[in-house]
Symmetry: C2
Subunit: 120 residues, 2 copies
Amino acid sequence: MSSPELDPRTAALLKRDPAGLVCAVVQQHDTHEVLMVAWMNDEALARTLATGRATYWSRSRGQLWRKGDTSGHVQHVRKVSLDCDGDALLLEVDQVGAACHTGDRTCFEATTLPLATPTA
Amino acid sequence: MSSPELDPRTAALLKRDPAGLVCAVVQQHDTHEVLMVAWMNDEALARTLATGRATYWSRSRGQLWRKGDTSGHVQHVRKVSLDCDGDALLLEVDQVGAACHTGDRTCFEATTLPLATPTA
């Protein structure tokens, strides 16, 4: 696969962490479920924008990771938004199958933390 | 304000970054809008769970930050979920007013990045 360059105007908007990454929140475009959180470097973002296939940087494996290449659980990207301070992206996607490697639809299903106080 | 302790069972589930933080995605509980992304250390999470008021760690100011104390734009927390690998939280909240410091309802409204390819 060729390596598209990130548009310099986009690159200039990003506020990367010390590892060169921004946080990507991934949301199913129609149901609005939050599916997962992943990380992108400039190349991952460039590939995502160029191809419409969500591509991340795997911090554990230290390599680019195009979602679905192994699992088949592809994310077709509909919209990418950058937050007000440039360190987080929102990807609205059409998720094929499960987003989570556990087989759950989202990565947030398994563990709910106990709230001590009911809120108003 | 007293400093509640984070439940050791919860603390044991967290996979913190080198700065001791986990990412928190904040979603309006009923409309499912993604409002913002912020960061939590153990104390911020403990206070959030104990009080039902979303409290973060400000990386720029280096201090705890209870959302709404200055702006009035409080977040009443309805549910907190931890993701499958323990490094991201999903807060479902009832957001009073604007989530973004710019006055926008969400932090993701101002900037959409151009997708080169329409997706299937």
